[in-house]
Symmetry: C2
């Protein structure tokens, strides 16, 4: 039996035990994990150094190396994130509905764990602890499949977690890592419908697309964000400047950063000669449509691909549109259903935009950067869902649960 199969079978078995663990038992396990991680700091940083060394030898980008890197401070942040989860309400066991039927049947709809969750992710070793603690809090067993570039770090982190679990009532195999990071082990996970209840890919669009295309296990799709801002005819100039600057430049590598700007042509006529140079002055590389290019010939001209590109950099595509419905059509065509914004003084236009744009979060007069579990007040999140089934937008603990009907009778039969 392969490593994946052995661990997946084990996870399924363990998941049936986890269903009946109390909130207190799970919180004690989180507490133990948080402390074990600090206790094992020396080992963890030593193993992390091996990943960094190999990464440098392989010539990995400095931004990738930075994502892999752990240090004392980052480990403390991870430690605190685990402790924070203890405070959160445990959704498992919650009664969502109680129906009393005339025949005496009592039908209770309850929140239950999903079962076994597979998480396929890239680089960042903090995801290892993050995913393990979120799934544990919700009574799920987890199979982690990280990338080869963080393999020593992931391995030592999971060993530390399992060591902590051994001191608790939660079986250590509630959290398992696939040590073999070859492509085959990911493919094997895609189709293990018998043992996995859900797969969550976290990482690049390419990774997510591969999982969606090949998995028979249900997938919780997270992430890609080709987010837009539409500046309507009546938009306030100062507000437009502030929001676009914030949404594009405050942090460029994140999925809720804005990638494309649509400007009402009447607004552009009034403010374009002031606004475009403002964006350039903020260090943003603009890729523009033909009309803007005529006034600013030094700017790169956009191709169709640009409208569909998530730059994750200080780059912004800019396009003029004739009206509100033009902007909605463009966004529904090229967007990734993540976060979209309209800047307007016209409440009616805002409402139409918010109704017709098909995305997880649609903003009126605010930056797209707010789409985030913490900003929404949900605390921990496992990712931002861009799909429409099960969960949409920031996914908190509830997204890691399912429901079940428990029905109590006294011999009822169907007429």
């Amino acid at each position: 039996m392969s490593e994946v199969l052995i661990k997946a079978k084990k996870a399924k078995e363990i998941s049936y035990q986890l269903i009946s663990k109390t909130t207190d038992e799970k919180n004690k396990a989180l507490f133990a994990i948080a402390h074990q991680l600090l206790e094992d700091e020396k080992d963890i940083l030593a193993e992390n150094a091996k990943d960094l060394q190999l990464g440098m030898e392989k010539g990995l980008d400095s931004s990738v190396l930075d994502r892999i890197k752990l240090d004392s401070q980052r480990l403390k942040t991870i430690h605190h994130a685990v402790l924070d989860l203890i405070e959160l309400n445990d959704p498992i066991g919650e009664k969502l509905d109680v129906i009393q039927k005339e025949n005496g049947l009592e039908i209770i709809k309850k929140r239950v764990p999903l079962g076994v969750i597979g998480i396929i992710y890239e680089a960042r070793p903090n995801v290892t602890v993050d995913a393990a603690s979120l799934t544990l809090k919700t009574g799920n067993a987890v199979i982690l499949r990280g990338s080869s570039s963080a393999k020593y770090s992931n391995s030592v982190l999971v060993k530390s977690i399992q060591k902590a679990l051994r001191t608790t009532t939660i079986p250590p195999e509630a959290v398992q890592l696939i040590e073999d990071t070859s492509r085959e082990t990911a493919s094997e996970l895609f189709v293990l419908k018998e043992y996995l209840d859900v797969l969550i890919p976290r990482g690049s669009k390419a990774l997510i697309d591969t999982v969606v295309a090949n998995a028979t296990v249900p997938v919780l799709e997270t992430g890609a964000g080709n987010c837009h801002i539409f500046i309507d005819e009546s938009a306030d100039l100062v507000m437009a400047k502030n929001i676009v600057k914030n949404a594009k430049t405050q942090r460029t590598s994140v999925c809720n950063a804005t990638e494309s700007l649509l400007i009402h042509s009447n607004w552009y006529e009034k403010y374009g000669t002031q606004f475009i140079p403002y964006l350039i002055g903020e260090g943003i590389q603009l890729i523009v449509d033909d009309e803007i290019s005529q006034a600013f010939p030094e700017l790169q001209v956009a191709t169709v691909e640009d409208w569909a590109t998530e730059y994750l950099a200080m780059t912004l595509s800019v396009k003029l549109v004739q009206d509100l419905s033009d902007s909605i059509e463009h966004i529904n065509k090229y967007g990734t259903n993540h976060s979209e914004a309209i800047i307007t003084k016209d409440e009616n236009n805002a409402q139409i935009f918010q109704t017709k744009v098909d995305a997880a979060a649609v903003y009126h007069n605010a930056s797209t950067r707010f789409t985030d579990g913490f900003e929404f007040g949900y605390s921990a999140e496992i990712g931002i869902s861009t799909q429409k089934l099960h969960a949409r937008g920031p996914m908190g603990l509830e997204a890691l649960s399912s429901t079940k009907y428990v029905i109590n009778g006294s011999g009822q039969i169907r007429k």
Copy 2:
């Protein structure tokens, strides 16, 4: 462009219009449809007769022909089912959460339509109207792909629906049928992720498995039910007789009928010689394990395949188990996560069973036959979900919706 692609593109376009239709507009459309169907009775029955004629020529089973058959009475039932939907609460637009942030942002979580729903189904033409009206009530566009055996019936029904919609504010293409019932059109739908938001297969396990294995569009899995009853040591004999008889024989062709019986060996020792002949006397064909077979050598002996078989007939597999955990393990291994029941006087055992058995509905002292939208009080249902994401158990109107965050600001940017 193929028929599927043309219709899917159109459906996506229409879906953006449907988002903003009011409950009143949708209800008026349902009313128009219900009446048009009666008005077109003559045409509908004439086309249905063609399907029946072809079916007879092809030598289809009488049970299949009966599922295809429409008559005046059945059309009235369909008419009333559409009218009943008008009374139901429209989930679309419902505010699920309103969050007021300190920075002045107002975050509203709203229920929205899924968008475009593809339904792939077999035989029964009533599903055509059923699916069309449920998806319409929830503001979705639908692409129907029925089977060739009901192709004339489905076609005339959708024409009638579209004729009705032309008299309303709902575009007729909100409901479209794929007329080409070749295998290729189904395969094409599986991967139309760009235009379809969800696929719902309704029919045999083989159909559902094919869709799940091949679709990249998210699937709402419905149906297969290899349901069990476990008779615990302390079960009441009369209750056991009543419930098993009801769950097996009241209607055998449905997914919530019981297919497999597990009996605690101590109970069997006491009551087996009375209970087994009782089941046989009720006309049930028993397929039994080795131990029961020794006492009843005339009964067929079960193979491993029997434990995994949904008979949908007057057949029941029967197995002795040593204890509660044996029964739970067996059910989690061979069940299809649909409906499972325990008969016991021991409340503690009931609770353990209801916690650890991994199924949409888990009964204590009641027949598995109750898993049904109407029995649960949800009125209309689009199917019974046996998956854990999005919806579990009977799926009512809410299962045909998604959510969206609408955020209102006054220039907020992220710090």
